[in-house]
């Protein structure tokens, strides 16, 4: 037990050293990609908790991200900044004058998302499987459309520009490690066993005295919290947000990471989070004009999403359980692997 704690701390130290090195040497674009990796891992872990571990098919992640992003943006922009932004209609007094440090803003963004998670969870979590998916998808759309139509809070379709860029590598990876820690702690406790029990067999879980609804609500709102945090970090990272940013594609990307990594595998989500974020950037070359010999293909915007969707289809066809399935990479597993290598 003690040993693995040390190894984990060592791993975090290595991550810290890497970030320190990256912060000093890499260019802005690469650092942006590194930041996105951390945020995508946070989002993937939270969706995996909801879908992979508790078995609730939720497509509402973009909605929770939007809530986190808007709450955080409103709080970290100074009143003076906000005055120049709200040109359609004047902001409400409380929107105009609320201001908070970055960490408070991110936590409040997460908490607001969690609150919405509870509010929509109460009516929706009684639904099963596909129905829940459709209903949560509807929720995310409602959030987006509401954001478009309350200009005195969200500045309508214009969104916010020039959001202070507090989110650097330290913040994003700090939150990423914290999220990972919280989720792993929950999953390793008996509460985590109960989540998995609900996923495996709801009827049996009921017979075991488990208040299914309460536990589902816990998992759902906890996932919503992390999604809100991810959205808040994203807002500060990209500096501009508007309702169009939180369309279904956003949820789809995260779902893709979770499914590719393996539903019910934390390490799978991390690996796929890194892999897919990098690929999404690297694949941008397919959107540029490509010349092969004498044949030239014009650049088609959105081509990388085609490639990606194909990739997802291939994953589903040939490795339905994802990279990791439900397995995890653990220190004990690595030790076993090393021993086998020696023998």
């Amino acid at each position: 037990m003690k040993n693995t704690t040390w190894l984990n701390l060592l791993l975090i130290l290595c991550l810290g050293l890497f970030l320190w090195w990256a912060d000093g040497t890499l260019d802005g674009y690469k650092i942006r990609v590194l930041n996105l990796i951390a945020i995508n891992i946070i989002l993937a872990l939270s969706l995996n908790l909801i879908y992979g571990f508790t078995g609730m098919f939720s497509l509402g992640h973009a909605g929770f991200m939007a809530i986190g992003a808007y709450v955080c943006s409103i709080l970290i922009m100074t009143p003076a900044q906000k005055e120049t932004q709200f040109i359609l209609q004047e902001a409400y007094f409380w929107v105009q004058n609320s201001h908070a440090p970055f960490i408070v803003a991110v936590v409040l963004g997460g908490l607001t998302a969690a609150l919405f998670g509870v509010l929509i969870g109460i009516p929706l979590l009684r639904l099963g499987d596909d129905y829940l998916g459709i209903a949560t998808l509807g929720f995310a759309e409602i959030i987006r459309i509401v954001a478009n139509n309350i200009p005195r809070v969200t500045n309508g379709a214009l969104g916010f520009k020039g959001i202070p860029d507090h989110a650097n590598l330290w913040w994003t990876y700090g939150w990423c490690v914290l999220t990972l820690f919280l989720i792993v702690r929950i999953l390793n406790s008996n509460t985590g066993n109960v989540f998995k029990a609900i996923r495996d067999d709801e009827t049996a879980a009921k017979a075991m005295g488990i208040n299914i609804f309460k536990m589902k609500l816990l998992s759902f709102s906890f996932g919503a919290f992390c999604a809100g945090v991810g959205g808040a970090l994203l807002a500060s990272l990209v500096n501009t947000i508007d309702p169009k940013m939180f369309i279904f594609i956003q949820t789809f990307n995260i779902l893709m990471i979770v499914v590719t990594g393996g539903l019910g595998s934390v390490t799978g989500s991390i690996l796929a989070g890194i892999g897919i974020t990098v690929m999404l950037e690297w694949l941008r070359f397919v959107e540029n004009p490509i010349t092969i010999g004498s044949w030239t293909m014009a650049g088609i915007p959105g081509m990388r999403m085609v490639v990606f969707s194909l990739l997802l289809i291939l994953v589903i066809l040939f490795r339905r359980e994802g990279i990791m399935g439900m397995r995890e990479i653990t220190w004990a597993g690595i030790a076993r692997f090393m021993k086998r290598g020696k023998a």
Binding site: L182, R185, I186, N188, S189, N190, T191, N193, V194, K196, A197, R199, D200, D201, T203, A204, A205, K206, A207, M208, G209, I210, N211, I212, L218, G264, M326
Partner: protein, 259 residues
């Protein structure tokens, strides 16, 4: 002997079909009783009404003097009634040990916040639960395969694991739905001993549904016979065996000849 569970006039109708009609039973504390009847007689429906999976159309369930009618399954379990399922329902992706731990969750005092914060109280309790779970696995003879995934266990082990999981909820009343299904005569014999053992060891009252007549007649002290939802007989095994109504409805002439 005091009555631990009492049902009065339990009736369950699904639309026009009366699955169970007017089922009244008083079960003495510490007894092993049986519920038998041909297929589709309404035995499992009775179980589902007692454990809160179905809300009875009519009638009431009293457990230790407290009314349980219409309570949700998790409240019923919390009150001290545990059950197993006719078609085994384990948490397949979890290990045998985790399955038992999940059963113990209902009695766990420290919540998820304490586990996240790694408070000493939570760590102590989780360790304690783990020890108790291992003990239970030992009782059902599965301690050596505690780390195996439940769905990879052989059939008999799955049945026993389901009982261990039910025991982990610390029940005072245990409902077993066809515990001997799919077992060979030798295994059934062992099962009878096992049922008696856990009754004494965990101070239980047991109600079981069973098709295997050897098991029912061997282990039950009292039984109810259902046919088409109606209670057609009740009494001790000997009385049931010689009851003409039961013979006609369920045991059949063949059984009488062999017995």
């Amino acid at each position: 002997m005091s009555i631990i569970l009492e049902t009065t006039g339990l009736t369950m109708r699904f639309g026009g079909l009366a699955a169970v009609t007017d089922f009244s039973a008083s079960i003495p504390k510490g007894s092993i009783t049986g519920l038998i009847g041909p297929n589709g007689a309404g035995k499992t429906t009775c179980f589902n009404m007692i454990t809160g999976f179905y809300r009875p159309t009519q009638g009431q369930v009293f457990f230790q003097g407290q009314e349980l009618t219409g309570k949700s399954p998790h409240c019923v379990c919390r009150a001290g009634i545990a059950r197993t399922f006719q078609n085994i329902r384990l948490f397949g992706h979890e290990t045998a040990l985790e399955n038992v731990l999940i059963g113990a969750f209902v009695r766990q005092k420290t919540g998820w916040i304490q586990s996240v914060l790694m408070t000493p109280a939570s760590r102590r309790e989780e360790n304690q639960l783990r020890d108790q779970a291992m003990e239970l696995l030992d009782v059902v003879g599965l301690a050596n395969i505690a780390q195996e995934k439940a769905r990879s266990l052989p059939y008999g082990a799955q049945r026993r694991l389901e009982i261990a999981r039910a025991l982990a909820t610390q029940p005072s009343f245990l409902l077993l739905d066809e515990p001997a299904a799919g077992m060979n005569p030798q295994e059934s014999l062992e099962l009878m001993d096992f049922i008696r053992t856990i009754r004494t060891r965990f101070d239980l009252t047991i109600l079981l549904i069973e098709h295997d007549m050897k098991v029912v007649m061997g282990v039950c002290e009292h039984m109810w016979v259902l046919d088409y939802g109606l209670t057609i007989a009740e009494g001790c095994p000997e009385a049931i065996q010689s009851n003409p109504k039961v013979i006609e409805a369920y045991l059949g002439e063949e059984y009488v000849r062999h017995a």
